[in-house]
Symmetry: C2
Subunit: 339 residues, 2 copies
């Protein structure tokens, strides 16, 4: 059994002041660069700081200044590649700013989401980033009265709330239009969950692309999924069980596309030779599926970065514009011209 070093209690600013023979305020001044201090005292203080290994107590600082230097992030699922990419953007956006983030999950549930936000507020986070939130815009606006909020998936723009909204409909259109150009006409759609805004828009884009090509949408080719792998698998199974004919599948997100792919594999159907497949998101894993997935790229990382920068501006009382990076079709190897 190894024994841990018993360490002295963390030193305070007061300790430093005593050791350096100056007043606490002087130490504070040096720490924050709040005022000029004579060189000799500065040196003495700096020496004392390293000597006792001092680091300011952030709770005390926060209490005093009213800023905790932490922001809250609300995701829906803490272990999803979808949120991961965005979190990476947030992380990079926070780098070197002194901010840290506490991440909580709303589990796709508006009530839980609101509850979590209340907890974040009690923790005095300086701002909140809400990703794929289920709560109403009104609720978001309400909370933004306490702390600035940046939220994905909605169109807001006040002094303390900003929405970052991508054009899901256009993204879906890109995917389906690509398929149509390859000669596909019977294109199945594995949708997202009902009452999901993004999912609705993608359906709309799918329908619009078809209609623009004078293809009458066939309700039997549209089957509801839930954004998870399993639902893609189930959906295609259902399509076959009901004897549908189709040469391509558009899945409302990459995860369900993975499920579609597996189902096709099980049935011995080749992709893209027999059936083409397009996803939506471009998760990091999608360039390593077999074969690599053609999909609509969401700039998840950039969204995280943009949201973070915007939030910092809101916190500082600055104005924000809303630049939103575009969706983009990434053609890889799951689609081919129909023969």
């Amino acid at each position: 059994m190894i024994h841990a070093d018993t360490s002295p209690p963390p030193s305070t600013l007061m300790d430093v002041a005593r050791l350096a023979g100056v007043s606490p305020s002087t130490v504070s001044r040096i720490l924050n660069g709040t005022a000029r201090v004579s060189e000799d005292k500065r040196l003495a203080v700096l020496a004392a700081i390293t000597k006792v290994n001092f680091a300011p107590n952030q709770m005390a600082q926060g209490l005093k200044k009213g800023r905790s230097m932490t922001i809250g992030i609300v995701v829906q699922d803490i272990s999803s590649p979808f949120f991961d990419e965005t979190l990476r953007g947030v992380d990079d956006g926070l780098k070197g700013t002194g901010y840290a983030s506490v991440i909580v999950s709303g589990h796709w549930n508006a009530e839980e989401e609101a509850e979590r936000i209340r907890l974040l507020l009690a923790r005095k986070v300086d701002g909140i980033i809400l990703l794929s939130g289920r709560m109403s815009d009104e609720a978001v606006l309400q909370f933004s009265g306490q702390r600035p909020i940046v939220s994905t998936g909605r169109a807001l723009h006040t002094r303390s709330a900003l929405g970052i909204k991508l054009d899901n409909e256009h993204g879906a259109w890109l995917a389906v239009h690509h398929l149509i150009e390859l000669g596909h006409r019977r294109i199945a759609f594995v949708s997202g969950p009902a009452n999901n805004h993004d999912a609705d828009e993608r359906l709309t884009g799918y329908l619009r692309a078809l209609r623009e090509a004078d293809i009458g949408p066939d309700p039997k080719l549209i089957v509801e999924g839930n954004f998870h792998e399993s639902s893609g698998l189930l959906a295609v199974n259902h399509l076959f069980d009901t004897q549908q004919q189709f040469s391509a599948v558009f899945a409302a997100n990459d995860l369900s596309a993975y499920g579609v792919r597996l189902c096709l594999y099980r049935k011995g159907i080749r992709v893209p030779d027999d059936i083409s497949l397009v996803g939506f998101d471009d998760l990091p894993g999608s360039s390593y599926t077999t074969p690599p997935l053609t999909t609509v790229r969401q700039p998840l990382y950039d969204i995280g970065l943009i949201a973070t920068n915007a939030l910092r501006r809101l916190i500082n009382g600055d104005t924000v514009g809303s630049e939103v990076p575009p969706l983009e079709l990434i053609v890889r190897e799951t689609t081919r011209r129909v023969r």
Copy 2:
């Protein structure tokens, strides 16, 4: 442009006290159940609390009690399915405890890791969970003098530090032994990065399984990877470039197995018909690869849960035992008997 409600400044315990006509201490007592309070005052206070929508300022509470009710988590990569699963376990372990977590990334770098831990300490986290840390055991022990630490991948057991260590060697042995039982003798190994402890152990397990079967390890079949998809792809390319013969590949983690799979697909080699493949980790995505991946399951979620529970005990000064869930071979569809 919509306008956000301008909300009143957050109410304090003092506001509640005034409104209820009692002293601040009484309010505090009711909040914390610290002492008996007459029923009428309790009611008045409760009413006041909901009326002004009061929630205690956690920074003030923390400053006073010396506990921030937050723990720090150090991961190496904030957007990796590997850490995700563990984080989910941590999240569930924290549920209902009043604790929140701030997650930082060490980016596989010992210096950065130490730096992050110092930041967490300045934030007065009550404890730290270090996942796949690169720093030395001594450094961990050092930090554990300030706050309790639970760390994966090492064998520690003091009053304020606990290591949770899985038997990587055995896991690798399971994988290779499985392959050998299927008749494979030329088994390639895509290793992890050099100087990575887990990676070393997996190599050892691979070698041991071979030797136990009287198969002389062929150094040419061992190629170094880095745990990323691309390295698996590169590794197999290298194997073919150097004209190696092999009927199976064991990849040191699932991500590199994905890369191996893609490389094989590109070369028109069937899995498992021509070559068998085994990974290590059992990431959530591994049951949806094409075909589903045979792999060694790491109980990532459980590790997160166990680490969290252990940390809470350490924080409370309780003793901890170290139960560690076993590694387990999950046979799916990328391995088959050699013909």
